[in-house]
Symmetry: C2
Subunit: 215 residues, 2 copies
């Protein structure tokens, strides 16, 4: 395996995705803390690693790979967490895209609320929460009939979607309304080697008012 | 190759992506027209093909695969349009995710304007157009230094991003402001077998006021 260096923000769900897979795989890597609220992603040096100025970024033998799901794909290649058949890979990709488009709404609202960029009674919050519920409804329908997202096996598709779905209480949505999703989250947490080491948002998060990017 | 059936809406950029790759590959397939404005995606039968009720859907030996980029991945597997190395695949995936998150803003605004769901002078249009410009700026920066999006070769990442980027004039953005993007679009159109057979939005598109989904 190549030399791996993970540019990582401990309270970021996107970074958590990568740490979950690395824990499953038992791969050793160097972890570089990136303090997004201290401006670590706003430097020219960081923009060369990721023009979108987000975490995580995986450095592989000197090459920089941004985007959590792209990192999951690279690390999962050739393992049980990413199937090799074209049709199953396409199904996994479908759920990675679903996450980026729909579960991302949970990530975005959660970040804005926790970082104080948006007040809980802001007029835009109900519409944002409706978008979160759309993601949960689509998932509820699917995992009511399937143990995992892609072809019945636990894959990087589940890891990617787990990260922010398990955090919906932070946007004031009760997981009890989505029992199949809650059972699916529990099945993920029971996987061998699963570790959820998400750090709480730190005190300096509130300094971030005006910050338009997130980890 | 398996028996392929494409559920397709001719004016949809998402469907165009798939047709471009199929033209490159010279693969034969059955094309089933889906008239989204006539309610074809709102049936229970269509929801079984794609719970998100969008086009395109590829039927492969009786299995339904939604999401244009997931379809590109399936069809591109083992061809020059999708590399086999894990790191290059991850880089392609990064740009597919970029498309879903950022270029999607162009697709969404274009659809709302052309279908009459949003007036050109609606107060939300400037913010929506700013989101489109963010996508174009990120692309401009990248293709100023790279011929194509992933690792210097033409891949499904370029096809996926081409579809709605070449349509930015429909959201009143001048491609002349993004010269590197314009050159990159031209390089794509010069690829052997490239066909852009996007149909114009039909007269019945205006019937769609209230429709919240798009092809």
């Amino acid at each position: 395996m190549a030399l791996l260096r993970l540019y990582d923000y401990a309270p970021s769900g996107n970074c958590l995705k990568v740490r979950i897979l690395l824990a499953h795989l038992g791969v050793s890597y160097e972890r570089i803390g990136v303090d997004i609220f201290a401006g670590d992603t706003l430097t020219d040096d960081y923009a060369r690693k990721n023009p979108a100025r987000r975490t995580p970024v995986l450095e592989v033998d000197g090459q920089y790979l941004p985007e959590s799901s792209a990192i999951l794909w690279y690390l999962g290649h050739g393992t049980a967490y990413l199937a090799s058949s074209p049709l199953t890979q396409a199904s996994i990709l479908r759920w990675l895209l679903f996450e980026r488009e729909n579960v991302e709404q949970i990530a975005a609202l959660r970040f804005r609320l926790l970082a104080g960029l948006l007040d809980a009674d802001d007029e835009t919050v109900p519409a944002r929460r409706t978008a979160c519920r759309y993601a949960l409804e689509q998932l509820e329908s699917h995992v009511s009939e399937h143990s995992f997202l892609a072809d019945g096996a636990y894959t990087i598709a589940d890891i990617a979607n787990y990260a922010y779905v398990h955090l919906v209480p932070d946007v004031d949505i009760d997981l009890g309304e989505y029992p199949a999703v809650r059972s699916w989250l529990a099945r993920i947490e029971e996987q061998p080697g699963f570790v959820n080491d998400l750090a709480p948002m730190p005190a300096n998060a509130r300094v971030g008012r005006g910050l338009s990017i997130y980890g």
